[in-house]
């Protein structure tokens, strides 16, 4: 068995069945991870590195073959031959917002209404979700809790995968608003043969006009000093015009990408991110000229059209990255599959991203930059939070992704989860025979 069960593991076995492990205790002593292959997350790698962190913050990252450190009062952990990574970031996520897809009572990802800028996803983020430990144990240590539905869905927040409650777990509150762009093509489901028919969306222009009015009102409202009456919806949009918040636009078609970005810039939005971007390769020049980053929808999808190259979804991150566009990967709302996010980066590397360190950026530093959390996380650099993990091998490949240690803000996290508990229970059953 390659998933090494640490001491923490057997301790966890003593905890009552069916519960997540308790959040980890704050870091009390400096820790040095010695001799591992340190993947910085910015394209660099140190084959024999030392990662030193204290009070939840990285205090040094150095080449162990050339630099000597004073390790008095430091807990030294030998990770030679193993790999150290910054925690992976999963944007566009409903982890924590839904538990069991088919059970309505466990789903809190969408509010009624069309224009919901005031809706905040972090409120519903359930730190006790049993999904969270399972994604954490593959190296995904952050997820962006993201609302769905309507035209403006609400605001997202970046959450850590450990904490007693959402206030504890939040890394960045209300990082951006979510806009579902009225699509150029609409899709209709045909009951006769269960096919999908794509045609020009006749309601698009009216929908865009309504958005224009809302954004104009919001922009004007943002200039008021003491608005009375207070409008919660417009209040929630203020950050778009000051640059405090991103506007995440869900758009896939090439024309939707161009039109929506032009709309947002025209409306005075400071920071725009395209989410989805299935046809982003068509709009490369535009995206580059306008300096718009892209979070791609899940790569593990089929090409959008019959005649499209069979591997286009796999090659897309490479195509965009090569053109100099800032790209992040997501599992696009597929909460339980989020643990496979690292393997998407691996796939990107197998299909055209220059090398594995470049591919790694797709789930670390690139995403951190896009989400505006790169001052805190995304790379293993001095001054950043010590949210990182140790894997027995290459974490982008499921063959070697075996997570042995996880630190969130320097706190040692218990690696137990529901799946391991059930595994142990039934392994024991058969071994008793």
């Amino acid at each position: 068995m390659k998933k090494t069960l640490s001491i923490l593991f057997s301790l966890a076995a003593l905890t009552s069945f069916g519960q997540n492990p308790a959040p980890a205790k704050p870091q009390t002593k400096a820790i040095a991870l010695m001799g591992g292959v340190v993947h910085i997350g910015n394209g660099q790698v140190i084959p024999n590195g030392v990662v030193l962190f204290d009070k939840g913050v990285i205090t040094n990252v150095v080449d162990g073959t050339t630099v000597r450190l004073n390790l008095n009062d430091v807990e030294v952990i030998d990770v030679s031959g193993k790999h150290v990574y910054p925690g992976f970031i999963s944007p566009v996520s409903t982890v924590g917002l839904q538990e069991t897809g088919a059970v309505r009572a466990t789903v809190d990802k969408q509010e009624v209404g069309n224009l919901n800028p005031h809706i905040r996803a972090l409120i519903a983020y359930n730190t006790d979700s049993e999904i969270i430990p399972t994604i954490r144990n593959n190296g995904v240590l952050f997820s962006q809790a993201t609302p769905q539905g309507g035209t403006i869905s609400g605001s997202s927040s970046v959450m850590m995968s450990d904490g007693w409650n959402w206030e504890d777990a939040v890394l960045k509150k209300d990082d951006g608003l979510w806009l579902n762009w009225p699509a150029y093509f609409s899709r209709d489901f045909n009951l006769e043969d269960f096919s999908t028919i794509v045609r020009k969306n006749e309601r698009r222009e009216a929908a865009i006009a309504a958005l224009q009015a809302t954004f104009a009102d919001a922009r004007a409202y943002a200039a008021l000093t003491n608005p009375t009456p207070m409008n919660l919806k417009l209040e929630a949009m203020k950050g778009l015009f000051s640059g405090k918040q991103n506007l995440y636009i869900r758009a896939n078609n090439g024309k939707d990408i161009i039109e929506s970005v032009r709309f947002a810039k025209g409306a005075g939005v400071q920071k725009v991110v395209i989410v989805g971007g299935e046809d982003a390769h068509r709009a490369i020049t535009f995206l580059k000229e306008n300096n718009v980053p892209v979070i791609l929808s899940e790569m593990h999808r089929l090409p959008a059209r019959e005649d499209e190259d069979v591997d286009l979804p796999y090659r897309l991150p490479g195509l965009l990255q090569k053109a100099g566009i800032l790209v992040g990967l997501s599992y696009a709302d597929e909460w339980w599959r989020t643990r496979n996010l690292p393997f998407q980066a691996g796939t990107a590397s197998g299909f055209g991203v220059a090398d594995r360190e470049e591919a790694l950026k797709l789930v670390t530093s690139n995403t951190a930059k896009i989400l505006g959390i790169d001052n805190l996380v995304g790379t293993l650099e001095k001054g950043k939070q010590a949210t990182l993990f140790v894997s027995a091998g290459d974490a982008l490949d499921m063959r070697t992704n075996v997570i042995e240690k996880v630190f969130i803000q320097g706190r040692k996290v218990d690696l137990d989860d529901r799946h391991k508990r059930l595994y142990r229970t039934y392994k024991d059953k058969y071994e008793q025979k």
Partner: protein, 1034 residues
């Protein structure tokens, strides 16, 4: 009344009966006429092979009396001189809904979210249990003539049509009727001429069947029930439907298919019951013409060619697939290709957007390679022959019904004019024939203005253009010339505006005269006298209609691109111009994953000949002519086998009943699904195509190899064991339906699921016993014994009991898995495989004891309640208890990464890499009983091989070559060339389409149909969980 070609008789088109006697009383004085007409000096096309010049056609009382060059015309005959004109047999359409009640579909039968589902027939009376089986309907009874619609068809040249109600799977009989205007008693030539079937359940609101394979099964069962009814059943019950099914067995039978695959599907049903169907096809037969020809079926072919797409915007145009572009280009060549392949066919006007498209489209077909003679056959002799009416219609021979048309010239010429349609000996004017040819130059005098010239021109004498030349001015008057009379309005003087109005009559073929009124009210006299031919330039075209000396050109002179355009196999952008062929190949110096005792060999060679692996070893020598592939640094493995797949299918669930053991997925294989190619690119070579999980007992699987470009039949693995899908849990008890209040289908709980099995297998046992007893009887005893009723559902279940069919059971929760094992043990059968089996780890010991395999997902969970306890360690735990474990996809996307999914069993639970690899190759082969032929690299096994660029369990691995039985179906290095060819072909056709649009063809917006991606969760009309949102966000 217009006299037209008949001279010497004032009125001709009053009704008269062709019947010598009538059963109807007459209100007024009887008006029976001799009905004797002769058409002389005509070019008569007696049939497509025979044309007579200067011949006479004699008809009496609606029948042809004589035709020939030496016909003596008896006294009392009305004679029409047709010098320069032609006579053709009237055309026949044998797929018509003329005179049939309109088929209106109600709000479908209770899909998910709709009203309460209807499980039993709403049709009252002693009929079949299913509303879609209505062979008792008779077109001859419900037929009602419709003068306006008859006129529309006569104008196109048609004289008779075969009509039937287009509703249901068994639709009843068709009636052959003429398009004359008379009592139905006269019009119906043959009331029960044909029998009709289709793949559409039509207006039936009953739940079953709600899938294509269910349609096939229902029809097959009904046919077997009819056999039984004849032999024994009528003693037990009266059933008008089964009685009718037996009665119509001897009639020519027409099966309406919905696409080219339907032709093969229909023919297979016909073969089972010893019937050769005539198939109403859809115009795409050219795409699979070899397979179509092999069926031996005659076809009824529409002329509904696709419109060009609106492709100005290159991004929008991407939504139109190459297959759609090519079909637009090639559809007009369909008939020509059918003719060249010697497939007999008739044309129909059915399916045309407008009936008036008939002639332009038919001419387009001729321009695209269809010989005119074949076109005429397809509209006359062949349809007549197909419905056994060649003694009545289709040619102009003595004794036939007097259905013919009079034309200006060659029927197929663009400028041909159909003057008259004679239907059952009755005259119908199609184009009003001018009494004389007015074309020419006329000297016009109006009052004191005598220096005017009137030029009359036109392609035929019947459609004329008028122009007045006054000094140098050219004036276009408004003219109405009708028979002997003429009226004209003209603005003679531009300086004094006003209209001069003239009215007049013909005094001779060369003179008109009459009165007129000038703009100022002054009354004037006017006249026109013919002085000679009109200027040559405007009359030249008038002779082309009759310029061809032979009645028909035997071949077309030009061959446009559409008839030479290349096909693709399959007819999809990613299809191949040639079907891949097996080659002899030596793969050298690769890391070979044998799945045998030898394990993983490094630096090994594998020789492939005749589609098999012939040698495995080091330093093999390549026999002459063998292609060598360098495997250095690469990995060679078996092709991946997906135990649970729903790609390449037209339909997934027959959820209309709790058991649908009778349905066969082999009836709905779609060889054009692009996912076949995408999965080849992921190293998959064989799949079990499974029924869905909507009901406890699903349908029979199809085991296929992903032979991209082959027919459904060609994809099936020959000699494979039969399998069947079962399902447990939330889907079969309909837990996740949005409106639980309308659910009435048994079962709605796991308790009921057990009883479904107990009930069905108990019945199957009794059924098998019944046949066993009957089959043991002597011939003498059989003669008096009641034979059991053949039941194709119980047949499948009896096969399971006899270990001739094997179960793959969709399952999640341990309690229900345990239940099925107990049911199987108690009734004496085995479960072959549990699929999904996400709680298999909880009772892997019991599974091992029963000998059942587990085919699972690597890491799926959390999407519904019954996967709450699903863990990614499941495969490892089952594996260690001795269960044969495979990792499957159930998903078109994931199937192309099954190597990665197998690798997860290494991550979760520490399965060895070799064992992990077997979970997507050898183990599924074992579960499908194909491990003697597939699943390992050993001499003698099928050469279904994949050459990977890296360790096959690694995320960085991708197939460079995927081979099935020695033929290369995917080659990474050829992908660029394939892509370039695809783009070049797209551009070529798009340019052509732009030109077509510029020349005025109407276009359609590029809509874009994306075929359904199936998962076994999918129930009719329902999107899988989360799919709505995905669709919205795109």
């Amino acid at each position: 009344m217009i006299k037209h070609f008949l001279t010497g008789l004032l009125t001709v088109s009053l009704a008269y009966g062709s019947l010598a006697q009538t059963t109807f009383p007459q209100n007024g004085v009887y008006d029976e006429r001799p009905g004797l007409y002769a058409f002389t000096n005509a070019t008569i096309v007696v049939d497509p092979q025979t044309t007579l010049q200067n011949a006479t056609l004699l008809i009496r009382n609606g029948r042809i009396e004589a035709v020939g060059t030496n016909v003596s015309v008896p006294a009392g005959t009305v004679i029409a001189d047709l010098k320069g004109k032609r006579i053709y047999p009237a055309l026949i359409d044998i797929d018509s809904d003329y005179g049939m009640p309109e088929v209106t579909r109600g709000p479908g039968g209770g899909g998910r979210g709709a009203g309460a589902p209807q499980y039993e027939s709403n049709k009252k009376g002693p009929y079949y249990w299913n509303q879609a089986i209505q062979p008792e309907n008779e077109a001859g009874i419900i037929f009602k003539a419709n003068a306006a619609k008859a006129d529309e068809l006569r104008k196109l040249g048609f004289g008779a049509v075969l009509v039937h109600p287009h509703d249901g799977i068994a639709r009843g009989t068709g009636a052959l009727v003429t398009l004359a205007d008379d009592r139905e008693n006269t019009l119906v030539l043959k009331p029960n001429a044909t029998a009709h079937f289709s793949f559409s359940k039509g207006t039936s609101t009953q739940q079953y069947p709600n899938s294509m394979m269910g349609v096939v099964a229902l029809l097959r069962q009904a046919m077997y029930d009819a056999d039984w009814y004849k032999r024994a059943g009528s003693k037990e019950q009266a059933n008008m439907s089964l009685d009718a099914l037996n009665r119509i067995r001897s009639l020519p039978t027409i099966f309406e298919a919905n696409d080219k695959l339907g032709i093969m599907r229909a023919d297979k049903i016909g073969d089972e019951f010893g019937v050769q169907y005539i198939v109403r096809s859809t115009g795409d037969e050219y795409q699979m013409i070899d397979e179509v020809r092999k069926t031996g079926a005659s076809l009824i072919v529409p002329l509904n060619f696709p419109q060009p797409y609106d492709v100005e915007d290159p991004w929008d145009a991407d939504n139109v697939s190459l297959a759609e572009l090519k079909h637009w280009e090639m559809a007009p060549s369909n008939a020509g290709r059918l003719a060249a392949a010697n497939i007999p066919f008739a044309f129909t006007t059915a399916g045309l957007r407008n009936k008036t498209d008939f002639w332009p489209n038919l001419r387009k077909a001729i321009e695209n390679g269809l010989p005119e003679q074949k076109a005429l056959e397809a509209l006359t002799t062949i349809p007549a022959k197909l419905i056994h009416a060649e003694d009545m219609l289709g040619s102009l021979q003595k004794g036939r019904v007097a259905n013919f048309i009079i034309t200006s010239g060659n029927l197929f010429s663009a400028d041909n004019v159909i003057y008259e349609s004679w239907t059952q000996g009755k005259q119908y004017i199609v184009t009003t024939k001018a009494p004389v040819d007015l074309r020419g130059s006329w000297a016009l005098t109006i009052g004191d203005r005598s220096n005017l010239k009137l030029n009359i021109t036109g392609k035929t004498p019947d459609k004329l253009d008028y122009q007045i030349v006054a000094d140098t001015a050219r004036i276009t008057p408004k003219v109405a010339a009708s028979g002997e009379l003429i009226s004209m309005q003209v603005q003679l003087n531009r300086r004094q505006p006003g209209t001069t109005r003239l009215t007049g009559y013909r005094t001779s073929p060369t003179e008109f005269k009459g009165d007129g009124e000038m703009p100022n009210g002054q009354i004037v006299q006017w006249s026109a006298v013919r002085t000679g031919d009109a200027p040559a330039s405007t009359t030249a075209t008038s002779t082309t209609a009759t310029s061809s000396t032979s009645a028909m050109a035997s071949t077309t002179a030009t061959t446009p691109a559409s008839s030479t355009a290349t096909l693709l196999y399959p007819f999809v952008g990613m299809g191949n111009a040639q079907k891949p062929k097996a080659e002899s190949v030596l793969i050298r110096n690769a890391t070979v994953w044998t799945n045998e005792k030898d394990g993983v060999l490094s630096g090994a060679d594998v020789l492939v000949t005749d589609g098999k692996i012939s040698k495995v070893g080091k330093g093999l020598t390549a026999p002459a002519g063998v292609k060598e592939v360098d495997g250095t640094g690469k990995h060679l493995t078996n092709g991946i086998i997906d135990e649970h797949s729903h790609i390449a299918l037209l339909s997934i669930n027959e959820g209309g009943q709790s058991s649908s053991a009778e349905v066969r997925m082999s009836d709905v294989i779609n060889p054009e699904d692009i996912n076949i190619y995408r999965q080849l690119a992921g190293g998959v070579t064989a799949s079990q195509l499974l029924h869905g999980s909507a009901n406890s007992i699903g349908g029979q699987s199809a085991l296929v190899k992903l032979k991209w470009g082959e027919s459904p039949e060609g994809m099936l693995i020959k000699g494979a064991d039969g399998f069947i899908k079962f399902a447990l849990g939330e889907n079969v008890k309909q837990s996740n339906y949005p409106n639980p209040n309308v659910l009435t289908r048994f079962p709605q709980s796991r308790m009921g699921v057990e009883q479904v099995y107990m009930d069905h297998f108990t019945r199957a046992k009794e059924y098998a016993k019944g046949w066993e007893v009957y089959n043991k009887l002597s011939a003498k005893e059989k003669a008096t014994a009641m034979p059991p009723r053949r039941d194709i559902e119980l047949d499948a279940l009896a096969e399971i009991l006899a270990a001739k069919r094997f179960i793959t059971c969709h399952s999640y929760v341990q309690s229900e898995i345990n239940m099925l094992l107990k049911v199987a043990d108690s009734l004496g059968f085995k479960v072959n495989t549990f699929t999904h089996i996400l709680e298999g780890y909880k009772l892997a010991d019991k599974m091992a004891k029963h000998g059942v395999g587990g085919s699972s997902f690597a890491d799926w969970w959390a999407y519904k309640m019954e996967v709450h306890d699903a863990i990614p360690y499941n495969a490892a735990l089952m594996h260690r208890q001795g269960v044969v474990v495979s990792i499957n996809s159930d998903d078109a996307e994931m199937a192309r990464r099954l190597n990665q999914e197998a690798a997860k069993t290494v991550e979760y639970g520490g399965v060895s890499e070799e064992d992990a690899w077997k979970m997507v190759t050898l183990n599924p082969a074992k579960l499908l009983h194909l491990d003697t032929r597939l699943g390992s690299i050993r001499p003698g096994k099928d050469a279904d091989l994949v050459l990977w660029n890296a360790h096959p369990l690694s995320i960085y691995a991708r197939p460079e070559i995927t081979m099935i039985e020695g033929a290369t179906y995917f080659s990474l290095k050829d992908e660029d060339a394939k892509r370039d060819a695809l783009h070049a072909e797209r551009s070529r056709i798009i340019q052509k389409m732009l030109a077509a649009k510029a020349s005025g063809a109407s276009t359609v917006r590029p809509t874009f149909r994306r075929a359904r991606m199936w998962h076994c969760e999918d129930i009719e009309g329902v999107m899988a969980e989360g799919e709505e949102e995905k669709a919205e966000s795109k």
